[in-house]
Symmetry: C2
Amino acid sequence: MYIIRSGTIRAYKNIDDEEVTVRFGYSGDVIVAIDSFLTEQRTSLNLQAIKKAEVEYIQKYKFLAFFTKDLESLKAWNEILSELILQQLEREIDLLIESPLGRYNRVLSRSPKLFQEIPAKYIASYLRMTPETLSRLGKI
Amino acid sequence: MYIIRSGTIRAYKNIDDEEVTVRFGYSGDVIVAIDSFLTEQRTSLNLQAIKKAEVEYIQKYKFLAFFTKDLESLKAWNEILSELILQQLEREIDLLIESPLGRYNRVLSRSPKLFQEIPAKYIASYLRMTPETLSRLGKI
DNA sequence: CAATAATCTTGATTTGAATCAATGTTTTTC
DNA sequence: GAAAAACATTGATTCAAATCAAGATTATTG
């Protein structure tokens, strides 16, 4: 589990011979290959710095030692997991919107500051469209 | 939180003037408007029986009373949330696949028994394609 | 069981995003 | 700061899925 101290990280997955972006992490965020973190299996996600980044990391056993030490801590861990579920639900809805413009608008309105400083090609892949399509959306 | 004793339930959301299916629940499954369950806000999801169904329900306060009573229970609740996150991650990947056939195959191979007895129109909406497209996939 | 409604399939057509291709712009590197 | 590489924009074309439109099946209802 990484705490981003500066820079920007993206998580992506190889799908259809493409590197499809599934998450962005900014300074102050936590980013983690959640599948691996939860299952201790090899992850199918890749993490890449897209701005020179500094991160700290916590090893899972230390994290868990902290978050399972008493009832209150466990509830906090629980709260984090719940929050994650809600985020993923929003993400699912994002992806279900049919039109590229619709997806773009929804993601933008949900996280206005989200796409600052991120190269458009990664945003496009996050929004499941080509860079060309994303570029053309500006003109509408 | 509903425990399905018989029948089939789908969860759907209104997107783009369509009822887009986001989850199916079968006999034995638990189905819940997870956003509402976690936030206690009004849900944006609808639950609908697509086969005559019998369900039991647990109210959240009872559920939590059980799952927060001691450390072990909380860990179990935690485990459930983790499992949900992994499922949602799979779902996200499903939706990121570009071709209708690709999405169909991935979902089918992940849950072969998934689509038995479910009207194709709901499956199509779950796979973000039209019923016509789904129907034509069979011919490939 | 007949009648009606719902669903599914098939075909023809349209449409909008992907692809292809070229140029322009910004960023990186030496 | 020049050269190269990466990225973004724009235009033309292709293509695959959506839409539109009938039929064919299947399921539901009285």
